[in-house]
């Protein structure tokens, strides 16, 4: 029993990280009907920015509350800017073109980011691009046992609490923003019909770039949480993690904000149980098998709405 509870906790902790990335996919899909395949790579850039920032700080500072907050803020703001530029220069010119064009472009942007980061570029002692060699993410949060129940039956680590906490705060904020504020209303209006929204005085372009900025910032936050747990940083990390988060968004019903969170938590739990009770070799296979299963039973995802096609 205690083992089961332990797995649930671990699953939720990794699920919340998926959730933060999945929210970016789902929001962008919501407003643009575009799967932004570069999203995982934006997250990877965020991790590297966090890495670089923490290397600039003293070891003690980077482990302080101030240091951690600073690392998160710098990474999130840099990624927000990156998201803005990707949308502005890669996707906006293709807005009125067929959706496939933008999709291929997204894959292109993804490759561009993940492969250019593998070219080590140092200019005047300043590392601009990190190169392909994996790096260890600094221990900005020292792993300690937060709660131990019984004779080490259940161990909850501090980073698990922190990542669930940060993720919960970011997700609640997003939920509030999307459903309770007029910006969220504009976002939903653009998502429903961006032409009409424009004719009703909503600045469609700005709503879309803001959505990208928001999603990219969340991804950077998620990436750092992931790096704290996993410690390994390398330029291709965004591809797998991004793909998993995309799967989570599809499971929840892509375009649906709470759906992405539920899908991500489900995926996190499924993976954890496979690793816990089976073998870690099967983890990814089961994760994608889970996707296939959901698509067979409910192609629109858990929360998605089925659109009947008129004949």
């Amino acid at each position: 029993m205690s083992e089961f509870v332990q797995h649930i906790i671990n699953g939720l902790a990794s699920g919340t990280i998926y959730a933060l990335v999945a929210l970016g996919y789902t929001m962008v899909y919501g407003v643009l009907k575009l799967i932004n395949f570069a999203h995982g790579d934006v997250m990877m850039v965020g991790v590297y920015v966090g890495y670089a920032t923490s290397r600039q700080l003293e070891r003690d500072t980077s482990q302080s509350f101030f240091g951690v907050t600073l690392i998160f803020l710098v990474a999130m703001m840099t990624c927000a800017a990156l998201g803005f530029f990707i949308e502005r220069f890669a996707y906006r010119p293709l807005r009125e073109k067929p959706k496939l064009t933008a999709l291929i472009t997204a894959i292109g942007v993804s490759f561009f980011l993940s492969y250019s980061f593998q070219v080590e570029t140092v200019v005047g002692g300043l590392t601009l691009l990190p190169g392909a060699a994996p790096k260890a993410f600094p221990e900005i949060i020292k792993p300690t046992e937060w709660l131990v129940i019984g004779d080490r039956d259940i161990v909850i680590w501090n980073w698990q609490v922190i990542s669930i906490g940060i993720a919960a705060v970011l997700m609640t904020g997003l939920q509030y923003l999307v459903f309770k504020t007029r910006f969220g209303m504009a976002m939903r209006a653009v998502s429903f019909d961006h032409r009409t929204a424009g004719l009703m005085g909503i600045p469609v372009d700005k709503v879309i770039s803001f959505t990208f900025m928001l999603g990219s910032a969340l991804a950077a936050g998620a990436g750092i949480l992931y790096a704290i747990k996993d410690t390994l940083v390398q330029p291709l990390m965004g591809v797998t993690l991004g793909l998993k988060a995309f799967v989570a968004a599809v499971i929840g019903g892509i375009g649906h904000v709470p759906g992405a969170v539920v899908g991500a938590l489900a995926l996190g739990l499924v993976e954890e149980f496979v690793v816990g009770y089976g073998s870690s070799t099967w983890r990814d296979a089961v994760a994608f098998g889970f996707l296939i299963l959901v698509l067979l039973v409910r192609p629109e995802g858990i929360f998605g709405r089925m659109t009947a096609e008129k004949v």
Binding site: M185, A186, R188, G198, L199, M200
Partner: protein, 310 residues
Amino acid sequence: MSSAAPTGTGAGVSNNGGAATLLRVQDATMQFGGLTALTTFCLEVKAGDLQGLIGPNGAGKTTAFNVMTGVYRPTSGDIIVDGERVNGHLPHQVNRAGLARTFQNIRLFKDLSALDNIKVACLADDRPASSMFSRTRVNALRKQGNFVGARTLDAWGNYLDWWRALLTTSGFRADEERITERATRLLEVMGLQHRKDELARNLPYGEQRRLEISRALATSPKVLLLDEPAAGMNTREKSELMILIRKIRDDFKLGVLLIEHDMKLVMGICERITVLDHGETIASGTPAEVKNDKKVIEAYLGVESKELQA
């Protein structure tokens, strides 16, 4: 052409002889590849005007609306809203300049409640008059002819708003309440207050049409463009709607331009009518003038009928 004769052509127009011109379309032409959908279209709407735009199917009426509201950029010609030349501007910029519209096929945000549909449109006019980025200030810049400045101020206002939304400042919450209040009042104007929290998709057809009009009004337009507002309504609903449109024009002091198929209706309500056929303006004037225009009769009944009459 309507632009050339603001006075003396009919009772409705001469009443407004002194009113400011809010919308002026000058020789607007719209070509799609080799097809000319609209040829040298001219129109002038003043405050308090109630004008009609009619013509057979495919005459270019909706194209004219799309050209005016920034959906299409006219191939040549000018669209001037309250002194600002808006062709080539994005739809939301045209809307903020003072042009709001409804659609032939209802295009509400169907997944939002009736109230939220209006609140969304209130976004275009959401800042209190005292604020740095208020619409009053933006309009003042427009009046001075500083259109770039007006748009920049407007854009910065948007960015500021999002930060306030993210940080949920108290001022932001106050704004939010003000918008809700304004939206509720607009629902009342159209007699939809009982539908406040219902999803737009669940409203009956006639109420959806009315909701679309109140959504357009929420953007505080100077000229309201109605694309077949009475389509699909029965005779009684139609006459009620027409009374409502007149009332809106008087209460909000707007210019109204409407597309309508029902000739009887247009003749009854509009003070001035422009008739399009194959993209060309074939007549323009008071209902009485238009009704007896030979070209109009031909366009509607075909040439054969003329031969029959002869």
